[in-house]
Assembly symmetry: C2
Homo-oligomer: 317 residues x 2
């Protein structure tokens, strides 16, 4: 059984259940990573840097398992049956569907350990019936193997079936980050969905801008100060207050010009019109009446019926 | 006539055409701002901080003119006829359509000065027929009155009708930023359009994420480390390489779950499905065949016919 502060301490055993002070006992926990992808790589490296003992890394792809294992001083395997049975903590960072499929095989023979997954949209209950002690440790961040991120700032959302395991995860997460929160599976799902908008979709807009610039022979890097400021700004202003650009101003001349420029690109043209309409609508919730901007308001309200899609084009899309 | 380094120097005159070294003569140029909005406020403050003499600020709104004028030690007016006639440089940062409408009245009696606008999507030729010396100074950044930005990093794109004025704008921009480029009106238009995607639309995605979190009683700030990292990442990786999330992985389970969560929000549901389809399509340009992922590929290729919109829903939008 794994050491948990002030609870179930098995004195006299070394490493996993350890003696000594809380910090060293926490660090004595032997950890196995199931998965060696972007998240596993970053989490394992952060834990290794804090002094955790990563005992073994499993990945279906031997090269991935080896690369991560070597970086964190662990053994590795690509055979699930060869995963050690006596580790204290198993951290599974597999793709959601793979994880669900492998749970019975993974946990079998290792039921006494604490099992956690790291996924935003997978409920904790996926472990139910297989593991006895289980939970979730979800760092809300975008990870790439090429970049090491500073875990200290990353919000980590934890959940566990048992109170003692929750306390353990709290300590573990707290040793990596100063932003640790308990969150149930429903909350975590909402966080993940919001993160898809704020990160994955945002990055895709960067990619679309990159493609646009390329068409004109311009380098993406000219946008970096703008991208940085756009991100910095929402530390001080709420996003809806920070909105700038032709759509929020209702600058129809510029929007029409931009739509003409995108006339030969169906996808970008569609994104341009629905995102602009959405920005305008958020900034002008009521239809304007009896003033000079009436025309603009009407125009957008009409578009709003189909979320900003020009009616005439829908069947041609 | 305004001083331009090494050209048309009228010695003996003070201030505007000045004597002395290049830097002090550049700074002796008397500058009038036409407009006191976000961009004018930030540019005027940056110039003031560098020692430029801002002589007067015009805005239709007296309070705006006064606020900016006081911040940069200038006079102010809300009467275009009261704008001084003998400044060296007039910087117009009005909304595009207002600018175009006011040009004849603005320039009248001030034809000898250098006139520049600061707009991304307005060609330089809007000045043609009114001013004799004109150009564009376009800082590629998002500005708010509430935040002062560091001009040193901001790419500034300049254009001028006359070679001597171009050199002057190069010096002026170069005194504010180390990233100064000459760009014609077509190029500037492309930059502006890309900026709308990378900044305005990105900020709107932040706002949509903010609204989503609010629905679940969660604070927007939990996303800030993720937003920062998403922006930082594209300094090192091209955006299409930096893409993460369920769409690029083709994780249908998560995408279906998210779409269910958005079932009661037509707008977010639409954005989710078209942006996910677009990410997937970019990452999987060829239809996959004869392997396990065939099904995913087909699914998305089918959606692609209408840019990811579910066919059945279009008429109900």
């Amino acid at each position: 059984m794994m050491y948990v502060k002030g609870n179930h301490v098995h004195k006299g055993k070394a490493s996993v259940e350890g003696g000594g002070n809380g910090a060293s006992r926490l660090l004595d926990t032997s950890v196995v990573f199931i998965g060696a992808g972007n998240l596993a790589t970053n989490l394992a490296k952060a834990m290794h840097a804090k002094g955790y003992r990563i005992r073994q890394v499993y990945s279906r792809t031997e090269a991935s398992a080896r690369t991560l294992a070597q970086a964190v001083g662990a053994a590795y395997t690509n055979d699930l049956a060869a995963v050690v049975n006596d580790a204290g903590l198993y951290i599974s960072a597999l793709k959601d569907d793979v994880l669900q499929e492998l749970i019975p095989q993974m946990v079998n023979g290792r039921e006494k350990a604490l099992w956690v997954h790291t996924a935003g949209s997978l409920p904790m209950r996926v472990w139910y019936g297989a593991a006895e002690r289980y939970g979730v440790l979800y760092p809300l961040q975008t990870f790439s193997k090429q970049r090491e991120v500073d875990f200290a700032e990353i919000p980590i959302f934890i959940e566990a079936r048992r109170e003692a395991d929750l306390r353990f995860l709290h300590e573990l997460a707290g040793s990596l980050s100063h932003a640790v929160y308990e969150a149930d599976s429903e909350t975590r799902k909402a966080l993940h969905l919001s993160a898809v908008f704020a990160c994955n979709f945002t990055n895709h807009l960067y990619a679309l801008a990159e493609a646009l610039l390329k068409r004109y022979g311009l380098p993406f890097k000219v946008l970096l100060p703008l991208i940085d400021e756009t991100a910095r700004k929402v530390h001080e202003l709420a996003p809806h207050e920070a909105q700038t650009g032709p759509a929020v101003r209702g600058d129809e001349r510029v929007m029409e010009l931009h739509e003409e420029m995108l006339a030969d690109d169906e996808r970008l043209g569609l994104f341009y019109s629905i995102l602009s309409a959405s920005i305008y609508d958020d900034a002008h919730p009521e239809p304007l009446a009896d003033d000079a901007e009436n025309e603009v308001g009407d125009d957008f309200n009409e578009k709003d019926i189909n979320c900003g899609l020009p009616v005439i084009d829908i069947e041609d899309l």
